[in-house]
């Protein structure tokens, strides 16, 4: 058949590439405009960026990097905040500021590792359960999920962390074990809904494989909610990690976990208030930062969907 419309535009490939680049710039510009519309989102982004940078560069930005480990200097112990020690020193003379910055490393590791362990299996199970909505696969996966959700999260993590040897890795395992059901739930709902969307049925009719439908049609449509949830969850995972450290089941001294430091410092309240207060504030700031960032991302994606 002769083409009914022979008019192909005569623009050169280079002109097209230039246009494409311009439109990509515009998309980013628009996204930033929407995100920055809420100043709190920007505050969250800056907080998170600062904490990540501090944690990455901890040995270079802290005044006494050697204080992060088993270090003692009893002559300088129990000093209140001053110019030399902005957050004061603890009972064995270690700089609290240095240890707090190193504490960010453990907190961020906790968040990143737990999410990395939790998201892939959680999402996969959610995809399967949603795709086989109404069949025994759905029932099996979602009832197991319900069982995990029915156990109080902190109690489960405490139980697991106390059975295993208490250290950072085991506390991450414990938190992971209780966290995946949330992703299964989220993706399950989205998939069950998208399963009957015309584009999925359409792909099926074209002879697409199950694999293609799950990972190339449905999953890409779940990406923004998953990312939003991840950034909101970072804060919560860090908080639970700090709680486990606080009760002695997470980061072990002399390593500077934020929760561990609060627990140790709490013994010297209220006289040596700075030992517990600053790590506690650090937890607040990091959790708040991730929550604000997550809210910003949610607004961004929500607006995009309209």
């Amino acid at each position: 058949m002769s083409s009914l419309n022979p008019s192909r535009t005569a623009a050169s490939p280079r002109a097209w590439r230039e246009l494409e680049r311009a439109s990509r710039r515009e998309n980013w510009g628009r996204a930033w405009y929407k995100f920055s519309h809420n100043p709190l989102s920007v505050v969250g982004l800056i907080t998170v960026a600062t904490i990540v940078l501090l944690a990455l560069l901890a040995p270079y930005v802290t005044p006494y990097p050697e204080h992060a480990g088993p270090f003692t200097d009893f002559q300088n112990a129990k000093q209140p905040p001053s110019l030399r020690h902005p957050f004061g020193t603890d009972v064995v003379g270690r700089d609290v500021f240095t240890r707090t910055v190193f504490g960010f490393r453990f907190s961020l590791t906790m968040g990143v590792v737990v999410l990395a362990l939790v998201v892939p299996p959680g999402v996969l199970l959610g995809l399967l359960a949603g795709y086989y909505h109404g069949t025994w696969v759905d029932t099996l996966i979602m009832r197991v999920t319900d069982i995990f959700l029915a156990v109080p999260p902190l109690i489960l993590a405490l139980a697991i962390a106390s059975v295993l040897e208490p250290n950072l890795f085991n506390s991450m395992l414990a938190v992971s074990l209780m966290w995946w059901p949330w992703y299964t739930r989220l993706v399950y709902g989205l998939t069950a809904q998208m399963r009957n969307e015309y584009f999925t049925v359409s792909a099926e009719i074209m002879g697409a494989s199950r694999w293609h439908i799950l990972f190339r049609e449905i999953l890409p449509n779940c990406v923004s909610p998953i990312f939003t949830k991840m950034s909101l969850d970072m804060g919560w995972v860090i908080l639970i990690g700090a709680s486990l450290s606080f009760v002695g089941l997470g980061v072990q001294p002399p390593k500077p976990g934020l929760g561990t430091m609060v627990a140790n410092g709490a013994r010297y309240l209220p006289d040596l208030w700075w030992i517990a207060l600053f790590p506690a504030l650090a937890i607040v700031v990091i959790v708040l930062g991730f929550n604000l960032l997550g809210d910003g991302l949610r607004d961004l994606f929500a607006a995009e969907e309209i």
Binding site: W16, Y198, F199, S202, I205, G207, A208
Partner: protein, 333 residues
């Protein structure tokens, strides 16, 4: 009839949806066949089971709640209902393809047109094709559906296109696999009449050229009259009449078809047609006997008791109505 085996043959298909309060008897003994190269229309009210029948053919009904309780669907002599997933995957796309009424929902919003079209082509050609070839084929496919500027369209997302463009792209995708049978489910309904006309003409030309068999689902009698060779009329999950298009429009047999013809608005005036009294029955508890009898002006005693079989008016005109039962004696209205 000495014609060869039909490309698609649906025999006595029964389908129900399990819901709260029982089972919806959505299809109650549907018969349909399509020969190679034939263009068949399927008309009926909204909710009469047209789309459910076609989804059953492609086995894309959500099961549960849907449940096929009887009948057979044969494609080139092979039973679709008993096919293993691999064979079924071969039939879908290569054998049978489908276009939906809403082109917006039929395209994945997060991929460009090119990515989607190329994915279809790649799955059809297998691994042997290289990127350049696939790109060229995608461009050709878009040109075939008369879309201007295909280079740019390949990099566009569905939201950036108009309804007419999206429907053309859906047609391009459905035909890219060179199917033997194309099911078009109200392909113009979501578009305005001008664009609808263009799209239907285009579709008609494309299938004529390839000698593709077509099942055109529509509730517009005008469209069916223009584009099909033979028509099936469905009412509440039953096939009430089948006839060559011309014959159906000049001599509609079933009371339902006759009433359907009368309610078509005409420009020549006469006001708005009174319509068909009553409404489509409750599928949970469908009427006994003929499902149309509560709305039928000619309803007889037997219609309440027995389901009418298909009576042949002549060789290619079947009507499921006791008015045509020689045993009843009364001549047709």
């Amino acid at each position: 009839m000495d014609r060869p085996t039909p490309l698609l043959q649906i025999h006595d298909l029964r389908l129900q949806y399990r819901v709260y309060g029982g089972a919806l008897q959505v299809l109650d003994g549907v018969h349909l066949h399509v020969h190679v190269g034939e263009k068949v229309g399927l008309v009926g009210e909204t909710g009469c089971g047209k789309t459910s029948t076609m989804k059953a053919v492609l086995r894309v009904l959500p099961m549960p709640p849907a449940q096929i309780t009887g009948g057979s669907i044969r494609f080139k002599g092979q039973e679709i209902l008993a096919m293993d997933p691999r064979t079924l995957q071969q039939v879908r796309g290569r054998g049978i393809s489908m276009i939906f009424q809403d082109p917006t929902a039929a395209l994945n919003p997060v991929f460009t047109v090119g990515q989607q079209l190329e994915a279809v082509l790649r799955s059809h050609w297998g691994r042997r094709a290289d990127r350049g070839e696939i790109r060229a084929a995608a461009l050709a496919a878009l040109e075939e559906v008369a879309l201007a500027d295909p280079d740019r369209l390949l990099d566009a997302y569905p939201v950036q296109l108009s309804g007419g463009m999206r429907q053309r792209i859906c047609i391009a995708m459905a035909l890219a696999t060179k199917p033997e049978l194309l099911i078009a489910d109200e392909p113009g309904t979501a578009l305005d009449v001008t664009i609808q006309d263009q799209v239907l003409r285009l579709l008609h030309n494309l299938v004529e050229e390839r000698n593709t068999s077509v099942i055109l689902i529509s509730h517009s009698l005008g469209i069916v009259r223009q584009l099909t060779d033979r028509v099936y009329v469905m009412y509440a999950g039953t096939m009430v009449e089948s006839a060559p298009t011309r014959k159906l429009f000049t001599h509609p047999g079933h009371p339902y078809t006759q009433q359907l013809m009368e309610v078509v608005p005409r420009l020549s005036g006469g006001g708005i047609a009174p319509g068909i009294p009553g409404r489509i029955p409750d599928y949970l508890d469908p009427p006994t006997g003929c499902r149309f009898h509560p709305r039928c002006p000619h309803a007889m005693e037997i219609c309440r008791r027995e389901k009418p079989p298909a009576f042949s008016l002549d060789q290619d005109h079947q009507v499921a109505c006791f008015l045509y039962d020689p045993a009843q004696g009364s001549p047709a209205p």
